[in-house]
């Protein structure tokens, strides 16, 4: 048994009937109506509780929670630049470790959390993240993936899927929107051979909270990839953001899985997958795609999902 499997073997899990009541993130933050990103972060913080130090990259979640002179955080929180979130959380973790060793403080069970959007994870902060994962600091990194730089006005990132229209990859006469495929960030984290990697969606809150709690119990780094719908940037209704997140899982666009000690485990097998066109229909960023484009994307999604099933050892 690996170190991760050993650490989580007695974990019972949360359920909807007795959710922890603690809210480390307070109401009154300035996120848009129906924000899926703050919803994912809220659920994650609920699972972690208050014995936590949070490092935040620049991005929506930093802007909406901390406009001066107010803060929505009830726990220690530091905002740093896009590039160095993981470097700062490494330093915080190392400082706590050293101070515990020297007897200056006695707080051995603090959780260290760093989070950033997809831009700060997959584009700008990837080298600091890679370094922190490689050094094996005991922290959790959460990527809140809303598939573009939403905070500055919907610019494309390397996490934007093929065909999505953004302000820097606009759809038009000579363009079909984003021309490259989504970067597989969880696979990059798995390649660091860290104990725990998982993907989660706020449409499945118990699953998401269980994964966050497991990540906090495991010694060593953990990487979590959260699918975070953005009604403003994706051009869907604010009330539909959870429905879009659910549909993304059901149409195999965003499969939920964990990687424990390098072993892939499927969290939720999609028995009757929905066609990807149903997922596209809810969002205006995909409105320009033709039947052939959708067919091509469907084939690629199917192939990726089949490959994932093979890695998990599940029969299709």
């Amino acid at each position: 048994m690996g170190i991760a499997a050993e650490a989580i073997k007695d974990f019972k899990g949360f359920n909807l009937k007795n959710m922890p009541e603690v809210e480390p993130l307070s109401s009154g933050h300035r996120a848009c109506q129906g924000c899926g990103e703050i919803l994912a972060l809220r659920q994650a913080m609920k699972a972690l509780g208050t014995n936590v130090v949070v490092c935040s990259a620049t991005g929506c979640m930093e802007i909406v929670t901390s406009p001066f002179p107010q803060t929505a955080w009830n726990v220690p929180w530091i905002h740093v630049a896009f590039e160095n979130t993981s470097a700062v959380v490494s330093g915080v973790e190392a400082a706590y470790k050293a101070m515990n060793r020297k007897g200056k403080i006695n707080q051995p069970d603090v959780t260290f959390l760093a989070y950033g959007g997809d831009g700060s994870t997959a584009d700008i902060g990837i080298q600091a993240l890679s370094g922190a994962l490689e050094r094996g600091h005991n922290f959790i990194y959460i990527c809140l993936d809303n598939e573009a730089y939403m905070n500055t006005g919907i610019q494309r990132s390397s996490s934007t899927p093929w065909g999505a229209s953004t302000t820097t990859s606009p759809a038009g006469k000579y363009s079909k929107g984003q021309s490259t495929w989504k970067k597989n960030m969880p696979a990059i984290a798995v390649a660091h051979e860290i104990p725990y990697v998982a993907t989660a969606s706020p449409a499945y809150p118990v699953d998401l909270m269980n994964k966050v709690k497991k990540a906090s119990m495991i010694p060593g780094p953990a990487y979590l990839h959260f699918y975070s719908p953005c009604p403003t940037g994706w051009r869907c209704g604010g009330d539909e953001s959870v429905a879009v997140a659910r549909l993304a899982v059901q149409s195999k666009v965003f499969p939920l899985y964990e990687v424990i000690d390098g072993q892939y485990v499927l969290s939720r097998k999609v028995a009757k997958p929905k066609p990807i066109s149903e997922y596209f229909k809810m969002q205006r960023r995909f409105r320009h795609l033709t039947e052939t484009d959708v067919q091509m994307i469907q084939e690629r999604i199917d192939a990726e999902y089949a490959e994932l099933l093979k890695k998990c050892g599940v029969e299709a």
């Binding site: 109401s27 996120a31 109506q33 924000c35 001066f68 803060t71 929505a72 955080w73 959870v242 429905a243």
Partner: protein
Amino acid sequence: MAKETGIMSWKELELGNSITRPGNAGELKTGDWRSMRPVTDYEKCTKCGQCYIFCPDMVYKKNAEGYYEQNYYYCKGCGICAHECPVSCIAMVQEGD
């Protein structure tokens, strides 16, 4: 300090511009962003807690009887609760009616 808007003069700031109370965004009234208001029909409610866990603004709170009640001071009126309720007991009502 105007607590509901968070706007304050520099004379009211603490030394070093520090924020002395954690979570003081809780004073901000985000409820006035709303144009539609969620109203729960407690006859139909099954206390499943979906509205509570899917609310991005932590509006819902369990009362003594186990029902989830809205705090309209924070509700931005996004409508996720009404959309996700499995028994459709939450209705979105026009504000001001």
